[in-house]
């Protein structure tokens, strides 16, 4: 299952439209979308406006791949569940957000294991394919912090 989430209540129809179009040409795929307050109603995937915390965590746990806005909440949640994630940053010019923090965060996240960045919605299909391949190869965010960080923290604690 692929879980699509706009991360909050804020509409992000550009992501939802693109994923509905993707679902339309991949009829064998199970896709569940959390769409928030967007106007667009998907026709080719299951969707809900909002989800409780437990429901949200269950959807991520059940998903093979998460496709989301580039919010750190979504990225961290996918990471702790060991799920690969494709992010599409919300942009000011489409009225999706008030500043370009998501664009900047996405630029920094690009290249992290388990995280694929789609700069525009047209890049989503290839990023989805790449993230799935990475997930299948076990290249996902680990369940604990990186060893170097843990070692440095441990050295400080034991000092």
């Amino acid at each position: 299952m692929i879980f699509v989430t706009v991360g909050s209540e804020l509409p992000f129809d550009r992501l939802i439209r693109a994923m509905d179009a993707w679902a339309a040409i991949h009829p064998g795929e199970e896709v569940l979308a959390q769409v928030g307050a967007g106007r667009f109603q998907p026709a080719h995937m299951r969707w809900e406006r909002r989800m409780g915390r437990a429901e949200y965590a269950a959807a991520i746990e059940a998903a093979e791949l998460v496709v989301a806005h580039a919010g750190m909440g979504s990225v961290v949640t996918a990471g702790v569940h060991g799920r690969p994630i494709v992010v599409l940053p919300r942009r000011v010019r489409f009225g999706e957000v008030r500043n370009e923090h998501q664009l900047e965060a996405a630029a920094r996240l690009a290249g992290w294991p388990g995280i694929a960045v789609a700069e525009t919605e047209t890049e989503l299909p290839e990023r989805i394919a790449a993230a799935r391949a990475a997930g299948a190869a076990g290249l996902v965010v680990s369940r604990t912090a990186p060893t170097a960080f843990l070692a440095r923290l441990r050295a400080f604690v034991l000092e």
């Binding site: 750190m72 909440g73 990225v75 961290v76 949640t77 990471g79 702790v80 923090h101 900047e104 965060a105 920094r108 992290w112 965010v141 369940r143 604990t144 912090a145 990186p146 170097a148 960080f149 843990l150 070692a151 440095r152 923290l153 441990r154 400080f156 604690v157 000092e159």
Partner: protein, 145 residues
């Protein structure tokens, strides 16, 4: 001791637990009980304070004073937020603890308010974003992700 509020802060704290392997580890958190898989470690429930809860400030000071006198932690580590900041301050004051502030990975553009306030009470103050580290300011040791 790790002292951390709930949600994303707690999730990030869990990712650093391997750093404390072999230590006598005690937890403080705002939830009713400790995660089942971390039990039977000692757990202290503290008030989930925020800026909009001035009365809670007195409650958590009293709670943490009791906890720190009893536990006397050598080190207190937090991944935030306000309750973690209080734990660093009171641990340092009453138990002479060495303290570590780890700012949430969610703060990509600026250190959190609690992280900025932690400056005088954190022996190590860490940001998870390299571009936010400054000489004499927050340090970057890496991210928990």
């Amino acid at each position: 001791m790790v002292a951390t509020s709930a949600g994303g802060h707690w999730v990030q704290m869990r990712r650093i637990l391997p750093a404390f392997e072999g230590c006598d580890l005690v937890y403080a958190g705002v939830g009713p009980t400790l995660d089942a898989d971390l039990a039977p470690a000692r757990y202290h429930r503290i008030r989930n304070v925020s800026r909009t809860d001035p009365f809670g400030f007195f409650v958590i000071v009293w709670q943490l004073a009791r906890i720190m006198r009893r536990e006397r932690p050598d080190v207190v580590v937090t991944t935030g937020a306000a309750p973690g900041l209080m734990a660093l301050a009171i641990g340092k004051l009453l138990a002479g603890s060495r303290t570590v502030w780890i700012d949430s990975i969610a703060n990509t553009e600026r250190l959190s308010l609690s992280g900025r306030l932690a400056r005088p009470v954190a022996d190590a103050r860490l940001t998870q974003w390299e571009h936010l580290s400054r000489p004499g300011g927050p340090q970057f040791w890496g991210a928990v992700l």
